[in-house]
């Protein structure tokens, strides 16, 4: 434990309104603190440079999962455990549930939140590829009001996000549009739990006979941000499932991803695994 804890503030406002008022003070002087599964790791390594935190863990306005006819809305504090236990999420958004089950281990899943996962903005995060493929939207709130943006526009660069210092991620909305979709999610890592991915792949497709009517593909750990692979989708959409289609799609994916060498894997391995996963995904559709 390398941090000097009296050098850190963690205040606990009683309501979302109070929390937003604190966040509105100063230009990013205060930052939100949710389940702590990312921030406490940095603290213990002596690498948490920011000092003033607002404890949002107990704010009920940020919890809860609502289901309507057209969408499911998850409060930003929804934990990975809560995601896995929810009947509608399991039925309609199975890749999100699978991602949640493969994040850390049970003790992490009981405290880690979907909002924290998004706002921590690791390109290797497990849930974002599923959220991208499910066309998630984010609701951001501040003391002055709220706005909604599509999740694919949220990450603008490595650890850069479309969120202002006074804003808080309040909810994640998933449109209910998964009838007849095939879902395919693979997290490739060194072991089945407590591993950060080398490559993470999420794909959905709607098939008619042997034709790909619609398709969405997203990957993690192969770019500075989790990415929707629009060129790859364009190469697959409307095509017949065969080797020629797979080859064209693989060329598109190869150009769209930007894997690097790092402590977990290499550029070449990540590229090969990404292409293999794409092929496996398409072959599973037929």
């Amino acid at each position: 434990m390398r941090a000097h804890v009296p050098a850190y503030q963690l205040i606990s406002p009683a309501s979302l309104g109070e929390a937003l008022d604190v966040l509105a003070r100063g230009d990013g002087e205060w930052q939100p603190f949710a389940g702590g599964t990312d921030l406490m790791v940095l603290l213990e390594a002596g690498k948490l440079p920011h000092k003033n935190y607002v404890n949002i863990w107990n704010l009920s306005e940020l919890r809860g999962i609502e289901v309507t006819d057209s969408q499911v809305t998850l409060g930003a504090l929804t934990t990975y455990t809560e995601i896995q236990c929810h009947e509608t999420l399991r039925a309609e958004f199975p890749m999100l549930c699978q991602a949640a089950s493969e994040t850390g281990g049970l003790a992490i899943q009981n405290r880690g939140t979907i909002g924290g996962n998004i706002a921590n903005a690791s390109p290797a995060a497990d849930s974002p590829p599923a959220l991208l493929v499910y066309d998630a939207e984010l609701e951001l709130v501040s003391a002055k009001g709220s706005r909604t943006i599509p999740y694919y526009a949220f990450h603008t660069g490595y650890k850069q996000m479309d969120i202002r210092p006074e804003e808080l991620l309040r909810a994640i909305r998933l449109p209910l549009a998964s009838k007849g979709l095939t879902h395919y999610y693979r997290k490739v890592g060194t072991r089945k739990a407590q591993a950060i991915s080398k490559v993470c792949f999420a794909g959905v497709a709607r098939i008619d006979a042997d034709q790909i009517v619609d398709v969405r593909v997203a990957l993690g750990s192969v770019a500075p941000i989790p990415i929707r692979c629009v060129q790859t989708e364009n190469a697959l959409r409307g095509q017949t499932i065969n080797t020629a289609t797979i080859d064209v799609a693989k060329s598109a994916l190869r150009a769209e991803i930007a894997p690097i060498d790092d402590l977990r894997s290499t550029r070449d391995y990540r590229r090969r695994v990404s292409l293999n996963l794409l092929e496996d995904f398409v072959r599973e559709l037929s």
């Binding site: 434990m1 941090a3 000097h4 804890v5 009296p6 050098a7 850190y8 503030q9 963690l10 205040i11 606990s12 603190f33 389940g35 702590g36 599964t37 406490m40 790791v41 603290l43 213990e44 390594a45 002596g46 440079p49 000092k51 003033n52 935190y53 404890n55 863990w57 107990n58 455990t81 850390g104 281990g105 049970l106 003790a107 992490i108 009981n110 405290r111 089945k192 739990a193 407590q194």
Partner: protein, 160 residues
């Protein structure tokens, strides 16, 4: 790095192993450290200090968590159970008896976390498959046993 004190200690009311306690600590202090140093509940161990090994596992409001990742400010009004709260009076829990019978502990440092994870698993799933046992204990690392006697202990606990 700037280490100037900018906060003072707070009082946190919670329940620990069924007893009402008041913790006095800096808000960002780890629950792990407060349990061990203030309450002298040293059964909870530090293995990695980064939420990977599970040696620091405790239950908060019925859910297993890594206490090295919980700032004490967040346990206000919470019900915490540590390894010291698993046995009742002078009766070991079936999981603890099974660990003794099957030799599920060598150095013992992972054992409190393993026992808590196993107790938690059996509460959720009284008759787990081998796969479910491995998944249920996937957040707990052991450097001594090679895991097999730990899994046997969990199986033995189910048979009791």
């Amino acid at each position: 790095m700037d280490t100037q004190d900018i906060t003072t200690k707070i009082s946190v009311q919670c329940t620990v192993n069924g007893e009402s306690r008041t913790l006095h600590a800096y808000p960002m202090e780890r629950l792990l450290d407060v349990l061990r140093e203030q309450l002298r509940l040293t059964g909870t161990k530090e293995g990695c200090g980064e939420g990977e090994c599970g040696a620091c596992s405790v239950m908060i409001n019925g859910r297993i968590v890594n206490s090295c990742l919980v700032p004490v400010a967040q346990v206000a009004a919470a019900s915490i159970q540590t390894i010291e709260g698993i046995a009742t009076d002078d009766q070991l829990h079936a999981v603890q008896r099974a660990f003794i019978e099957c030799g599920g502990a060598q150095c013992g440092i992972c054992t409190p976390g393993m026992v808590l994870a196993a107790v938690n698993l059996l509460e959720r799933e009284p008759n787990p498959s081998d796969r479910e046992i491995r998944d249920g204990l996937a957040g707990n690392l052991c450097r001594c046993t090679g895991y097999m006697k730990i899994f046997e202990s969990v199986v033995r606990a189910c048979q009791k």
